[in-house]
Symmetry: C3
Amino acid sequence: MTRSPFRHLMDTSELTKEEIRRILERAHFWEEHQASGLAPFTGRFAANLFFEPSTRTRFSFEVAEKRLGMQVVNFTPDVSSSTKGESLFDTVKTLVSIGVEVAVIRLTDEQELLFLIKQNPGCAIINAGAGSFAHPSQSLLDLYTLVKHFGDLTGKRVAVIGDIAHSRVVRSNLWTLKQFGAEMIVSGPEEMRDPEVERIAPYVSFEEALRTADVVMLLRVQLERHQGKLFSSREEYHRRYGLSAERLKIMKPEAIIMHPAPVNRGVEIADELVEHPRSKIFEQMKNGVWIRMAILERALGEW
Amino acid sequence: MTRSPFRHLMDTSELTKEEIRRILERAHFWEEHQASGLAPFTGRFAANLFFEPSTRTRFSFEVAEKRLGMQVVNFTPDVSSSTKGESLFDTVKTLVSIGVEVAVIRLTDEQELLFLIKQNPGCAIINAGAGSFAHPSQSLLDLYTLVKHFGDLTGKRVAVIGDIAHSRVVRSNLWTLKQFGAEMIVSGPEEMRDPEVERIAPYVSFEEALRTADVVMLLRVQLERHQGKLFSSREEYHRRYGLSAERLKIMKPEAIIMHPAPVNRGVEIADELVEHPRSKIFEQMKNGVWIRMAILERALGEW
Amino acid sequence: MTRSPFRHLMDTSELTKEEIRRILERAHFWEEHQASGLAPFTGRFAANLFFEPSTRTRFSFEVAEKRLGMQVVNFTPDVSSSTKGESLFDTVKTLVSIGVEVAVIRLTDEQELLFLIKQNPGCAIINAGAGSFAHPSQSLLDLYTLVKHFGDLTGKRVAVIGDIAHSRVVRSNLWTLKQFGAEMIVSGPEEMRDPEVERIAPYVSFEEALRTADVVMLLRVQLERHQGKLFSSREEYHRRYGLSAERLKIMKPEAIIMHPAPVNRGVEIADELVEHPRSKIFEQMKNGVWIRMAILERALGEW
């Protein structure tokens, strides 16, 4: 059996519109066949290397791998030789030597991941969210959620609210949403603005964002980073930039709520809105599994 | 395929005698068919969330899940978003979103677990031992071990010895053993007595307990909690309340020894008695796998 | 079904030449059948207990177990009852009670492992590298790599360079390599010599080792242990005992490079030589999976 070459995924900007469409189609296939027992990659090995904590992304990839029939090894920094100072390349090359074909990696420093890909350790590398740089699987599951809800995205306005400057989600979404005809705007605290993002997605007032958007996408606030500096408290952030029942009323009647999660309940969004009928937050997580199955198929060159 | 509703398990007191009998029957079925390769839940997902350390309970559930064919994700606090302050509900709801159907949870605070069940995250919740409140799977495996050994339990006297006040095992056993006609008594240090328990299980002297019981069930002493306060040393506890070869002699000739483990050898029980022919300690662990397979079947509504 | 008795593996010195030959044959079988989907131990359980950090050995065993069809439980000290002071015997006996048939263990203290085997917990015990005592699976994969490369080893000279005194690899290799007719020599810093080893493997100068060996096997330097004492820096070690492009030139033209890994790049060996065509370092890791599958087969008594 000859195998197609591996395909890395560092960011969505590497993907053509055609490739993205293919990923959405395959995600749809897996969603439709979720009870089929199809497991095309039985006996093949994936490794998850998370150097930053994560619940949803890590387990979502693990479930996607196992649904495809793969065997999974989970690398956590503390139980491994990384305490012996081994380089990322040597760690991944080791995993490749013992049979791993795809490595799903979350790192703080995206440069390290780009360098790893350049060194070519011999397996597919999937970026599971690098620092504030990119988060391709999150962006693709956002897109899938939107396309499932709206069908055609042409002219739909997506407002991203919050810490734009530190968000890996917003960067990855700029590319994918634009490709599918959606328009992006941003809002949030002055101190969290990002001039580079605003060249593509204009900054508007929070009120204008709420009033005009078809999708209100709230970003997690890194409270531990900002508290006592930008904001005196959780409550203050919520009062100024959080989505409340009150503010929901000024949103367009058919507009939906999204959030990459984990949510700070009562900060970015009022507790009672997280599971509101117009919130797609847990739907996004569900879709994440199908999208990641599609990403893994692409990574292994098996379309 | 329509699926039956999930069934949580917070404590044995929720179970009717009929349900307990059913669990024992299914445990027996799995013990009988352990080499059959039967794996009815292939492709379905379980999650284990242990917020307190555990060897036997955690691995016993993991083995039970895998024997049933399930895929398993193991959540440990340090590798997950819990460091980002996410609530238990949101963590479990996330796992449900990515496909988990049953969550096995060990927590210190049983109120948190009761609250989670009330919030209804969308999967079956199994209590794997909450604080000093309840430990239903341990209680059911004790019962299974007793029924296998004695057949009918009517009139059998079970003496539980040790830290009654802090034991989750004793509370869960009060219900299950009484249901099957056994009589319970307790003994141990004055400072570890529990008036609530004694309303059902009378307190007797250690000597009377040993002399009259059909089952001597020793509880683990939390040495780290009591040492230097109630007892000057391990040896002192053993001298006063430990089962020694000497004390074994005053037990009824057919009486058996049990312990929920992990054992403090030389404290609750003399080293050489742990694997004594009359000790069922490792037999209890063995039975734990069959009981947990039955609990998982019930949880998933598949009887 | 009757099962053959378990076979522990503490060190290679327990193995007859015939048994070693059998392990090499079975490793070869598994390498040849790597795409066959053969999984003879489906539904059986292995446990990995690593009390010291490890990437390659732990994952290599895990992949070997899973390739054989086994279910795997991974025991890490922090998530288990070991924090409650349970003995190794009780931990392993617990795992046996819940169905584990083979335990792969890495410990600092080999005496503890020898004692465990003597206590006979009821499963096969495989030493995955104990302190500076023995590392049988590493030694067997070294041998397999050599036999694959050279065929007959008679008269081949293997030079082991570095911290001989603290190496578990060198001890295990003394036995296996001699059995197959190879000759062993050692070299490295005076302070790292080991008189016991030198009774079998003569000490020679670094230059003589390089000039006369068919295999140059470099050992990892525990920099954290020696730095600032024996050596002022990484560079100093490399200058005096590291394999550089310069020194490669004085090696025999067909001589190969080996290293048990993880490698300190730029210390024991120059960065650019790790993946040199004459380096077998990643080939060793690959072979580790086939060797460990053979060791597991032997452990379970299934030849």
